[in-house]
């Protein structure tokens, strides 16, 4: 796609010599969409179909009319299997000719909303958004028209959930599907560093080994490779197993400097300075002792079993000038690297952004408070720092006013749940986003919030416990993410098409294409 994409870049231009010499062959991952059902036996359904075995006469009507394959009669079996309720579209089916509940001549079927929905998800990640994400990760496709998941917004009552995309009645221009380009540039500086373009306006956020399993990490980077974008090592060091994917890795330099080495900095095309993170703004990272297993401690060069703190903030940075020295250090170690500066969202986030632009960063990455897998104090998540939805336009407009906007890439993260959130973030002024939780949800996360405790994630995603990690495999994880990314890029392209836009960059800063339900111009 992009002429400077990582795949096509001249390696000599992108990588330092010593990295070239120690470089391992890079693995290609095919961007192939394949059905990839959930890992669990019983997929959670929004609706449940009950069949009264005593009333059912086995006439087969339901089996024949349901286009979704809810009713299953396995070959050689006399009785129906338990209905595959998760395929059912619920009460929306009432208006069709194939509503099995009405068509069953014996009144044997009953449709109810699954009482479990109340226990799944939360205000931000509603059960509908979780189930919809699972569906997309399974099929690789956008949700079918007849679905009734409320996927566009959650129930938080503010921010993204009060913003709507304002489509024109008719697109301003007819655009063919293959004309639409959603790739973005990560280097807008014209400073002689490589022009790196990623095929989709998102990349994967930093999740360290320790906070998530290596299966999760590898699935993330493999999907990023397939989609010519990036994944990030997080703070816990650079696994040897990442090396075949070096070209799609960002490595993080965070305050604890766990596992940061010159050679890991030299391997990658992008280095991210993590000043703060939205989930615990102003507070350090914290890996609980129980998650610091033998393998984690080795990678972090620390003692097994003791809690690991990354202090807040960098103790070598007291000013923007110090930040500049930091950037110079990295540029010196790897002269062809792009720099990303990840900050949280204080009241003066706009100043921070402009400051780091002048210090020489290529990417300003603002991280709001809704994301994160790691342990964070509840009080910090809820109360500290500005919600992302305010921070994006604040930073964007200040960069514009300072004539810096065209020379820096603005990335937003922390709570991006869907391609709708991506479109809204871009319309608010970002170039693209970083995602994290959405990837985990695609891998089966139910947002139980237990990632930090005991043996870690009961769903084998955010854990380093050997017994639990083994329950997920890399092929499955990779496929689920590739599928999700496909669905998202289709969804985003569809949004652009409705606006009559060919490039995602045309949407950047177009707040006129958004309406906010709290204000009057709902059109």
């Amino acid at each position: 796609m992009g002429q400077y994409s990582v795949h096509k870049a001249n390696l000599k231009e992108v990588l330092p010599d010593n990295t070239l010499n120690s470089r391992v062959p890079q693995v290609k991952v095919k961007r192939e969409i394949k059905p990839c059902p959930a890992r669990h036996l019983n997929e959670i359904a929004k609706y449940i179909i009950f069949r009264d075995e005593e009333k059912c006469r086995m006439c087969g009507t339901c089996y024949k009319i349901c286009p979704k394959g809810v009713h299953v009669l396995k070959p050689g079996y006399k009785l129906f299997a338990t209905p595959k309720s998760y395929k059912c579209i619920g009460f929306k089916c009432e208006n069709t000719d194939n509503y099995c509940i009405a068509k069953c001549p014996n009144g044997a079927l009953r449709l109810v909303e699954n009482p479990m929905m109340e226990a799944l998800g939360d205000y931000r990640w509603t059960s509908d958004i979780i189930l919809a994400t699972w569906k997309m990760a399974e099929t690789g496709d956008v949700l079918p028209e007849d679905t009734d998941y409320e996927y566009e917004t959650g129930a938080s009552g503010g921010g993204y959930d009060r913003l709507r995309l304002k489509y024109p009645d008719k697109p301003l221009a007819e655009v063919a599907d293959d004309e639409i380009d959603i790739s973005i540039d990560l280097n807008k500086r014209n400073d002689g560093k490589p022009k790196i373009r990623i095929d989709v306006p998102w990349y994967g956020g930093g999740m360290s080994y320790g906070s998530v399993s290596n299966v999760t990490q590898l699935s993330k980077v493999r999907a990023a490779t397939a989609w010519n974008t990036f994944s990030c090592s997080g703070e816990g060091g650079y696994m040897e197993r990442f090396r075949p994917y070096d070209d799609h890795m960002i490595t993080q330099v965070a305050t604890g400097l766990f596992g940061v080495r010159e050679e890991t900095i030299q391997r990658v095309p992008v280095v991210e300075f993590k000043y703060a993170q939205g989930a615990k703004p102003g507070l350090g990272g914290h890996l609980l002792g129980s998650k610091n297993t033998l393998s984690v401690s080795r990678m972090r060069e620390a003692v097994q079993g003791i809690p690991l703190f990354s202090p807040f903030p960098f103790h070598s940075v007291y000013s923007i000038e110090d930040h500049m020295k930091h950037i110079d250090w990295i540029k010196h170690v790897n002269p062809r690297v792009l720099i990303s500066t990840k900050v949280s969202t204080p009241t003066d986030v706009d100043m921070v952004a402009v400051g780091s632009y002048f210090a020489g960063t290529h990417i300003i990455h603002i991280d709001g408070g809704y994301g994160g897998t790691g342990a964070a104090p509840d009080i910090a998540k809820k109360n500290i720092a500005m919600p992302l939805e305010y921070a994006i336009p604040k930073v964007h407009s200040f960069l514009v006013a300072e004539h810096a906007r065209d020379s820096v890439t603005l990335i937003a993260s922390g709570g991006i749940r869907s391609y709708f959130d991506i479109a809204k973030s871009i319309a608010l002024g970002a170039d693209g986003v970083v995602i994290g939780t959405a990837e985990l949800v695609a891998l089966g996360c139910v947002r139980c919030g237990r990632c930090e405790s005991g043996r870690g994630c009961p769903r084998s995603i955010a854990t380093t416990d050997p017994g639990l990690t083994g329950k997920m495999n890399i092929e499955w994880g990779t496929q689920r993410l590739i599928n999700l990314f496909n669905a998202w890029s289709m969804g985003l392209k569809d949004i652009l098409k409705r606006f009559g836009m060919k490039k995602i960059s045309e949407l950047c800063g177009r707040t006129d294409l958004l309406s906010n339900l709290d204000f009057t111009n709902t059109r």
Binding site: T82, A119, Y275, P346, N383, A385, Y390, R447, E452, T511
Partner: protein, 465 residues
């Protein structure tokens, strides 16, 4: 550097079965009796715990199930028989202000004394009424005070109660200003009287013990004097009597040993103050003022009368009293704080704000809005597993069994743990801002963001055209 303030916490498990958020409903019919039943695979071993608990019950009045809500067993059961739901007992806790979530987190803190921590980001509402419509700030680049969180430096949470003179006068080398007394508490919190509704035998003694352990002060209704008659000096410096006009039976020598006293607002406030001063010239005197539409003006008036401390008390949900359209306590404090600054009186009077303070974030936010400290009582009650079911008239059934005898050490221990956790959370919030002193946090609204203001400033220009 002063000695570091530290609250000693010890694990204090609940007396009663926990009311977890989630429960598993088990449709046992049709169970295939699998050899490797998913229940055995629960990584929290909840099913085993449950059956152990049920076996230990002597009467069954609680359905115990404290599931962590991971859906693993639900999704893996061969027959799909399990269903995860939100525990109805949990949903019933409290009311619309004192939400089940407040109970959950308070119980956890009272048990462990630790800061509640979880994974997977923020899951709540974008904003809400009351304290939920403001955020506190953080700063990106180092201020050394951040180190306070990891113990390398000191973040002081102490505040003063009493008047600070604006200037001192000297004649030659001799200071001629008379200094009024001032007392310091290590945390911007004071324990308020419990409502007459909550007449539980162990409450006051536990609260006083917790005040002693934490170095704080508990306001005790002078009517309940009989409960603590035998308390010695060790305790008296942690007690502030609320002197009821109709009960003057606190002996002078006792009043002499306390540092703070509270009297209700009245028309004869100066006379009362003088009467108390005659007994104990060093005592700090607070005026309790219900938060009503009149209290902004009245606070200014009291400050003009050289009152040292005003204790403003809203209703239990933080709302203004006697008003058709009640304002919330945080907005009223901002108002009073602003007016006092305008009248150049702010430093001469201490503002204590009470009512609706249920979480440590409320404490931090109330202080940012202009209170010097807050008063609390319901969190202490909740620490003892109270559910605010509002059925605690004598003789009624208390589901938290607070009518039974509870060991005072235990009760005070739970409250102390809660304050220990609050202290750390205040330090976290202050540390994120790079703030070294709670005294300096007062009224520093520049370190907060308010929903209405962000909407207007950032979204206004974009969306209101």
């Amino acid at each position: 550097m002063p000695e570091k303030y530290h609250i000693e916490t010890t694990h204090m498990p609940p007396r009663l079965p926990r009311i977890g958020k989630y429960g598993i409903i088990d449709w046992r019919e049709d169970c295939a009796r699998c050899h490797n039943c998913v229940k055995k695979a629960c990584i929290y071993d909840k099913y085993r715990e449950e059956s152990k608990f049920i076996k230990s019950l002597d009467s069954i009045h609680t359905i115990y199930f404290e599931c962590m809500g991971c859906f693993s067993c639900v999704q893996n059961c061969t027959k799909g028989l399990l269903c995860l739901t939100v525990n109805p007992e949990y949903k019933k806790l409290g009311n619309e202000y004192w939400t089940p979530e407040i109970f959950r987190t308070t119980w956890l803190q009272a048990e462990t004394g630790k800061v509640p921590v979880s994974g997977a980001g923020y899951r709540g509402k974008f904003y809400g009424p009351g304290f939920d419509s403001m955020w506190t700030d953080m700063s990106e680049i180092v201020r050394p005070t951040r180190d306070g969180i990891h113990g390398r430096e000191y973040i002081s949470t102490s505040v003063d109660i009493g008047r600070k003179p604006s200037f001192l006068t000297f004649t030659g080398d001799k200071m001629t200003s008379s200094l009024s007394s001032l007392l310091s508490v290590p945390l911007p919190v004071i324990f308020d009287m419990t409502s007459p509704y909550h007449t539980l035998p162990v409450l006051e003694p536990s609260i006083i013990e917790a005040a002693r352990k934490t170095g704080l002060i508990a306001i005790i209704d002078s009517k309940k004097w009989h409960l603590i008659k035998n308390y010695d000096e060790k305790y008296l410096s942690h007690i502030a009597f609320h002197l009821n006009p109709d009960s003057h039976d606190i002996p002078q020598e006792i009043l002499n040993k306390t540092r703070l006293v509270e009297i209700p607002d009245s028309d004869h406030i100066e006379r009362h103050i003088n009467a108390i001063r005659n007994i104990n010239p060093d005592i700090v005197i607070a005026i309790r003022l219900p938060l009503t539409p009149k209290s902004v003006d009245r606070s200014i008036e009291l400050a003009g009368m050289n009152v040292e401390v005003i204790h403003l008390v809203a209703d239990q949900k933080g709302n203004e009293l006697d008003s058709k359209k009640p304002r919330f306590i945080k907005d009223m404090i901002r108002d009073i704080h602003g007016r006092l600054i305008k009248d150049e009186k702010r430093d001469e009077v201490t503002i204590i704000a009470g009512g609706g303070i249920g979480l440590p974030e409320h404490l931090a936010k109330a202080v940012i809005c202009g209170a010097d400290l807050v008063s609390i009582n319901l969190p202490l009650l909740i620490a003892l597993e109270c559910r605010l079911c509002d059925s605690c008239k004598p003789g009624d059934y208390c589901p938290a069994e607070l009518d039974k005898n509870i060991d005072i050490e235990y009760g005070a221990g739970r409250m102390t743990n809660l304050m220990g956790a609050w202290h750390w959370q205040l330090v976290e919030v202050m540390g994120a801002m790079g703030m070294r002193e709670a005294r300096r946090l007062r009224g520093d609204v520049g370190r907060a963001m308010f929903y209405e203001e962000l909407q207007n400033e950032i979204y206004g220009p974009i969306f209101s055209t």
